[in-house]
């Protein structure tokens, strides 16, 4: 299967083409095609995963694409355990989201188009994962960005949605510019962009360290954009304007994970370059802390989850920055499952309550038993409670940070774990328990249809059990499957486990006191730490900061350019226009007198000659006979002389 793994990616593309060109009017068929395609991809990925378990690879397949003298860009597939794991994550979450959307998007006027976009996104994401060179990865990277834009702005009638789409697109493009520059640097230094060849050259120390550092940081810029890391994280919360399944698929589980995946792919560089590694680790740490702090006080259910996503992605990046290849990708996998579950659960709540504001909810557990239970499971998992999958992956991250000796980062990570537990349970308690704060919302709430709840249950199982493959006691667990260079199999560190659990439990306890028992009044707390509260409530004023600096500068620059346009370019354009008119007058004169004269002259000459010549045509037969005999005589003369 690995050999034909491109089929995995092309099935959703086929689905996209079929829907767009043939079934855009037939919603049932369209969704059926899309679901069949993505589930088939999932099955094929599963087969490929088992093959990879037997032979880790990496398996490399090359297909000629662009071959010109001096430039060879093959389409290649690089299939290693990480690829297999990513394929599983993408296809599982995508399948769940496809099925879930049957219920969530039911009755939407652009139902088929939604499925077409989902298929296109799945194709792009799978292509991104499968591709064997940075260049092809970049292409799919941009394709993923495009589909993300399309899906965030899917309800483009809402101005916020289309604005959010644009914001996401533009913000990530800033990162992508760095990515592209990084690729150019790398290509300049290495002469190739194939993963295997680049890795080989780095191992052989053929590329200077300074260039590797530059390339690594620049490529990581792409990850900053795509994975919503500080300082380009601002687009992700806004992207929540898209349909919730989209948020679950793209902005929680897969696309934002692409940045982490890319960072994992440049692990060879990170290992070599300390500067790049520290840059990555600290950006991850800052992001994790900042996003978690913002998440503490938000009231929009999806925004809380969005900041949670940013925070968790920071976690992964931080882990990768300290060379925790296994830890980062492991958390990527477990996070994909429980975060997708959280988003889909949130979607279910929004579907029932018709509001995003958790302050208006409350007591929904009674109305929505399945949603609330699965949501709690996911929250426990993300908080890192034993023995759910989040616990194992978070522990793996702690272990690798500890192993590398970055104690400050470790402390920050534990703090963020506590904050994560707090804001997740704040969300749970506010939404599902206590009194109904808005009777109207409560009255209308209802459990979602089966197409929505079954994916939730399935993901809940994964949220519990998916992490078990990474238990430190397992001899052949995740760490001996996805590893960098050689398996890093740390023994179970019980101190770290207990510290992590204490942090999580204290966060949950605080949330319980504040939002369930109401022993501590959250409003009073907010008033007491008013400056801090205001600061984090306003998301560290990042949007305002960007508005005040980057965008203000952009406007100023625009104004300058406008003036330039008015003064110089318009003048020039008008000059060109006037000159054109003058020129055309000159040529008009030429036309009238010279060209027309020639044409009329030709006609006149023809008439004049014809007027003379036609007299020969007398119509009198005897004249003609005369000419005949004249001809005869001339012929005879000619012959005889």
């Amino acid at each position: 299967m690995i050999k034909y793994s491109y089929i995995i990616a092309f099935l959703p593309l086929l689905s996209y083409v079929l829907i767009v060109f043939f079934f855009s009017k037939r919603e049932k068929t369209a969704s059926g095609i899309a679901i069949t395609a993505v589930v088939s991809s999932f099955v094929l990925s599963l087969i490929a995963l088992f093959e990879t378990l037997a032979d880790h690879g990496p398996h490399i397949f090359e297909y000629e694409w662009i071959v010109i003298p001096g430039l060879k860009l093959p389409l290649s597939i690089f299939f290693d355990p990480l690829t297999a794991v990513m394929l599983m994550v993408v296809t599982i979450v995508s399948s769940c989201v496809h099925i879930y959307s049957l219920g969530y998007m039911h009755g939407d006027p652009r139902f088929s188009r939604f499925y077409a976009y989902l298929s296109l996104f799945t194709f792009s994401m799978l292509g991104l994962v499968l591709s064997g060179s940075f260049f092809v990865t970049f292409i799919f990277w941009e394709l993923v960005g495009l589909t993300s834009y399309l899906l965030i702005g899917f309800w483009f009638e809402k101005k916020v949605a289309s604005d959010a789409g644009k914001k996401a697109f533009i913000t990530t493009k800033i990162g992508d510019l760095g990515f592209l520059a990084g690729l150019l640097v790398l290509y300049w230094a290495a002469g190739t962009l194939n993963y295997s060849e680049v890795y080989h050259q780095i191992e052989e120390n053929q590329i200077p360290a300074i260039i590797l550092t530059a390339a690594g940081i620049l490529i990581f810029c792409g990850a900053i954009g795509k994975s919503a890391q500080f300082p380009l994280h601002v687009w992700l919360p806004d992207a929540m304007e898209g349909p919730t399944p989209v948020s679950a698929l793209i902005h929680a589980a897969t696309m934002v994970a692409a940045g982490v995946y890319l960072t994992a792919r440049i692990m060879s560089i990170i290992v070599v370059s300390h500067t790049a590694a520290m840059t990555i680790a600290y950006i991850g740490a800052i992001t994790a802390f900042m996003a978690a702090s913002i998440g503490l006080v938000q009231n929009d259910i999806k925004r809380v989850l969005a900041y949670s996503t940013v925070s968790q992605l920071g976690y992964m990046i931080m882990a990768l920055g300290v060379s925790g290849y296994t830890a980062g990708t492991f958390h990527l996998m477990t996070h994909a499952f429980f975060k997708a579950l959280l988003f889909l659960g949130a979607g279910s709540v929004i579907h029932a309550a018709h509001t995003n504001d958790i302050q208006q909810m409350g007591g929904l557990a009674k109305k929505m038993p399945i949603t609330s239970k699965t949501f709690f499971i996911a929250s426990l998992s993300i908080a890192g409670i034993f023995p759910l999958s989040g616990f194992w992956s978070k522990d793996e991250i702690f272990a690798s940070i500890y192993h590398e000796g970055h104690y400050f980062l470790l402390a920050l990570a534990v703090l963020v774990a506590g904050m994560t537990a707090f804001y997740m349970f704040r969300l749970c308690f506010l939404t599902f328990t206590g009194e109904a704060r808005d009777y109207h919302v409560y009255e209308h709430a209802h459990e979602s249809p089966k197409t929505m709840t079954y994916p939730l249950i399935f993901l809940a199982f994964l949220s519990i059990f998916a992490g078990w493959v990474g238990m430190p006691w397992l001899e052949h667990g995740y760490s001996s499957f996805v590893y960098f260079e050689h398996p890093h199999h740390a023994a179970a560190n019980y101190v770290l486990m207990i510290v992590g659990t204490i942090a999580a439990l204290s966060g949950i306890f605080l949330a319980y006191q504040m939002y369930y028992k109401r022993a501590i009044d959250p409003v009073k707390m907010g008033a007491r730490f008013k400056p801090v509260y205001t600061f984090i409530y306003n998301k560290w004023y990042f949007d305002e900061l960007y508005m005040g600096t980057v965008i203000k500068f952009a406007y100023w620059f625009m104004e300058v350019l406008y003036r330039f346009d008015q003064g110089v370019i318009d003048w020039f354009v008008n000059f060109v226009g006037r000159f054109g008119m003058f020129n055309s007058r000159v040529w008009q004169t030429f036309d009238v007198y010279v060209v027309d004269g020639a044409v009329n002259g030709a006609g006149f000459m023809t008439r004049w000659f014809a007027g003379g010549l036609r007299k020969i045509q007398t119509g009198a037969v005897q004249n003609y006979a005369f000419v005949i005999f004249l001809g005869v005589v001339l012929l005879m003369l000619f012959k005889m002389i």
Partner: protein, 102 residues
């Protein structure tokens, strides 16, 4: 002694006279007469050749018979056309019938 050349020269003279008539006579019937003269000059040639070149065979004479036949047919159709011209254009002068031009 009358030789073949005598007959041929006579025939050539008669032919030229016929051409002159064809080119100059205005009357259509006159034109037809001129043509008959030319036919006759041709016949003189045929029979002269028959006598002097192939006395055993009668090829020239037979050809002359055919020429006479064709001449009769030509005269018939030609005169019918003259009658038609007379009736339709009220003219028998060929230079009046000059419609075959621009």
């Amino acid at each position: 002694m009358v030789t073949l050349e005598h007959y041929l020269i006579l025939s050539a003279l008669l032919f030229c006279v016929g051409i002159f008539g064809l080119l100059t006579r205005r009357n259509a019937v006159g034109v037809l007469m001129s043509i008959e003269l030319m036919f006759n000059s041709a016949n003189i040639n045929f029979i002269a050749f028959s006598k002097f070149i192939t006395p055993e065979a009668l090829t020239g004479q037979i050809f002359a018979i055919f020429v006479i036949t064709i001449a009769a047919a030509e005269a018939t159709v030609g005169l019918a056309i003259v009658v038609l011209m007379y009736r339709n254009f009220n003219a028998v002068n060929v230079d009046k019938i000059n419609f075959m031009k621009w």
